[in-house]
Symmetry: C2
Subunit: 560 residues, 2 copies
């Protein structure tokens, strides 16, 4: 019976390995026969013990082993003759073992189990100190241990779902010939002039360096500089004297060298005397010309404006990257660092935009059903009974499309029929989350695209409609989270967008490059943004956004 | 003859459209017949005019149209009867047109051309003002126009190659069951303690807000506060008096309300009196407890340490994201913001690491040959004659693997044979770029993996070999760029890594979470980092790294 080593060997019944000599537990357990057909094969596996127990008076142990490749555990049996059992059974222990796959006795849940013949490595755990005991832990508790929480069932399932949605995103846009563009993280543009931004700077650390240096090496005094000046004068006079006395070339050269040394010393002292502790100032303000980028720089809040430069050159593009908001929001829906997907399409209008958004969201849902059903079943069992049905519904149902004006009418009718909202309903308001969720969850019971919003509540770059009151904007609302996507056709007419910027009280200068796209070879185009963590909340039914990103950042917290 | 609209209609001879009613020029020109088989079809296309010229005494115009989907232009013919020609022929003009595909007369280069029947939209260009004239422009010149440069042949070809390499990266790791993990951009850990980091802060903007507020609304004086205190005392006495006089409940309530108002006013004034201009200080240092994350925060220099927490839970993972260095390097090889790919593999050692790195680089090269050959031909013609052969060689040749000690021997032998290096060769040195390129370009003429470096020149987390002198590190060297990948097996032994951190003079406290991974359930693991822009330089033969990222950031420069 051959050892099933997997490195790039596709002739084994297992998938290609991950450059490791062990078999993924998923490749055993995810087979239609639950792995039973592999009985008789010898394999290496590695993973972390979920639970372990000694049996038969300590003659053998059962381990539930998980390697993160799937939610299911492999049942592993170790005889006391093979290895000391006490260490192996502790939750969190890492084991790398080799053994024989066997069909377990009738009446057990497993279809296959591993009987260990050799233990290659053990990474032990002291259960008295390990922060993740066997008991059920709350997601909130786990946030204090971001370096261990991927070892839990929930956070590892979220990681697999997040990974699947990311690859589905790339696959969708690549299938439709969009180019993935890396927009900048550090930016000197402020998209929309809205939202608090994080500043990126080296001024503080530079100032700290100067301060340390000045403590170690105090700056020269006035007297030091005067003395250095006097020395330069003296050495200069010496040179002049030697020259007028027609001294030898050697003597003059030596004297000039001394003069130069004195000059260098003076200029070094003068340079150092300019060193001042603190952040450099000019005219009573911070002197950003001395910052790393020679101007004030921030973390991006959106790649949209920048990616438009590529849409206006290579047609269909998308970004997928981190974005930042320095808002002091302590809600379950906000992060200071989160990921956004932002496609931008040239030669396309609002209808194309809605078609793209709908196709993309459906694709993501279908992808999870096709590729992550075991993780989705875990979510359905533990967090949100309806989450799989919701994916199925969204993947297969046409999204409702209604104008903002129609949406307001429907909400007003609901109010007349005694529906209570906390926020007043009238034309011109920004729809509140309660309105959005009423439309998608109660009224239509499916995703709803609301389009053509009042211009007063939307950004300057959205295309003004012919009614002069609304703009070609659209939001995709879905059950569970409300707004999942916001997008618009962009204003491609130079005169109109210039007027809109000024109307909104924004300065033109920072947008000159953006206006250039309308001045030279302007094109009809549109795009949208999807909050990636919102999509994960929608898919999994998890409530707090801090649990669907590996390393959450929010006010007061940035672990690791 | 039907209009070939393409939205999701796969029954047409074209690929699925990009949510637009136009056909991608690539889908016409990249057919084996060069598009000739489509003659007779009516299509819509959109793009930007590369060159245009009026012919036949102004009776018609030829336009070379490019939409960014491929390097080739579609030849478009417009009759003067269809649209005014003067505007159409300017370089940079955007046109969205409909017409008939035709086989051009014998003897022309094109296999198909479009005869326009309808012009849907024109985005004009004033050639006197457009910054990108028809003439050949240097890449350096184009850096001043990052918002227009993707309209050039070179930068759009780079965008397509960059996109292809990004998707190939995801496809490779997904094929091998790695999970894509989003490591944080804002971090409070300093990987390796090396490298200058950018600080992320809201302290400066908060201080500016306070300053503005204090100018608008000066802080209360001592006298204001004394007066407010006196008022509180007075109101308090009034309440006491009413109570002792057994006044009516109404009178007492009114009096208490006045007292509370006075107290609120006092606490508001006291709060405002604490407002101080400038960045908050405590004990002579900046008080970071008042910063957004309640501690000092930076932009990440690598996601490795953080992604290890996922490798030590879900086995095989990778990151692909932006990383940052605040180094004042003005070279053609350094950026302040660049993208890195960092896989991390559990249950794997240095050999597995080298296998993975070699397979990955080969996969990238083969992917470009399979998916971007037209862009590669453009690069071969304009930048680097050998770039296609280089891809073929790397995709098909086994990488040489030599130890650092062997590499030093080979370099010393070369020195004996009169090879001149600027940097001295002896055991213990960090290999310089000239040494690396000599090994890969001259000596082996293929990629070389150098492994097992002296511990003194490598990071603390690399696994100490049994010789106690070297660590299980490896670098992949390739022709043209030298070091493309750096990686290592990680030290999984708690006692050894703790000793290494202390040996290097680093504090333990910031690494406690990293040490925890070795304390509890430790696992043999390895990983590497690939500089994504270096890979593009290697593939394209372009010399300056600023030209292979859409929005380059370097000292003094962060446009848009």
């Amino acid at each position: 019976m051959a050892l099933a080593t997997l490195n790039d060997d596709v002739s084994t019944p297992f998938v290609k390995a991950q450059f490791s000599d062990r078999v993924l537990i998923r490749t055993i357990l995810s087979r239609p026969d639950g792995g039973a057909g592999l009985a008789g094969q010898t394999v290496k596996v590695g993973g972390w013990v979920k639970t372990g127990r000694e049996q038969g008076k300590g003659s053998f142990a059962f381990l539930e082993l998980n390697d993160g490749s799937c939610p299911a555990n492999l049942q592993v049996i170790v005889d006391a003759a093979v290895a000391p059992l006490g260490q192996l059974v502790q939750t969190g222990t890492c084991v790398h073992v080799e053994g024989l796959l066997k069909v377990p006795p009738e009446g057990t849940k497993q279809r296959v189990e591993l009987r260990v013949e050799k233990v290659h490595h053990v990474g032990p755990v002291d259960p008295a100190k390990y922060p993740l005991p066997k008991t059920r832990l709350t997601l909130e508790f786990l946030r204090d241990f971001v370096h261990f929480r991927p070892r839990t069932n929930t956070i590892s399932a979220v990681a697999r779902i997040r990974n699947a949605l990311a690859y589905a995103t790339h696959t969708f846009f690549q299938n439709h010939s969009f180019l993935y563009i890396h927009t900048p993280i550090v930016t000197t543009s402020d998209c929309e002039g809205a939202g608090e931004m994080f500043q990126v700077t080296t001024l503080i650390s530079d100032a700290e360096k100067v301060e340390k240096e000045l403590i170690k090496n105090p700056p020269p005094s006035e007297a030091d500089i005067e003395a250095a000046k006097a020395l330069v004068k003296e050495k200069g006079e010496a040179v002049a004297q030697l020259k007028s006395a027609k001294a030898s070339k050697g003597e003059i050269t030596a004297s000039v060298a001394e003069l130069n040394k004195a000059k260098e010393n003076l200029s070094r002292l003068e340079e150092r005397s300019k060193l001042k502790p603190g952040i450099p100032q000019k005219d009573g303000k911070i002197d950003y010309s001395q910052d790393f980028f020679a101007r004030q720089a921030f973390l991006t809040v959106s790649g949209q404006l920048q990616v438009e430069t590529y849409a206006c050159a290579v047609s269909s593009v998308y970004t997928f990257g981190p974005t930042f908001r320095a808002e002091h929001s302590h809600t379950s829906r906000h992060l200071a660092e989160f990921w956004m997907v932002e496609p931008e399409i040239a030669f396309a209008d609002l209808k194309d935009d809605m078609n793209c958004a709908e196709a993309y969201v459906k694709f993501l849902c279908q992808w999870l059903l096709d590729n992550c059903i075991d993780d989705m079943e875990f979510m359905a069992k533990n967090f949100d009974k309806g989450c799989i049905d919701r994916l199925r519904m969204v993947a297969s149902t046409s999204f409702e499309r209604i104008s903002y004006t129609e949406a307001i009418k429907l909400l007003e009718e609901a109010v007349k029929k005694d529906k209570k909202f906390e926020n007043k309903v009238e034309w011109g308001i920004d729809l509140a989350s309660e309105h959005e969720r009423f439309l998608t969850e109660v009224l239509f019971k499916k995703p709803v695209i609301v389009h053509d919003y009042p211009k007063g509540i939307k950004a300057f770059y959205m295309r003004l409609n012919d009614d002069m009151k609304t703009v070609a904007a659209m939001d995709v609302l879905v059950p569970k989270v409300g707004e999942l996507i916001g997008g618009s056709q962009r204003e491609e007419r130079y005169e109109v967008i210039e007027k809109r910027i000024l109307e909104m009280g924004l300065p033109l200068e920072p947008y000159e490059w953006y206006l250039d796209l309308r001045r030279y070879g302007t094109v009809k185009h549109c795009g949208f943004g999807l909050g990636f963590e919102r999509m994960i909340l929608f898919a999994t039914g998890i409530d707090n956004i801090r649990d669907v990103i590996p390393f959450p950042r929010y006010p007061g917290r940035a672990d690791l």
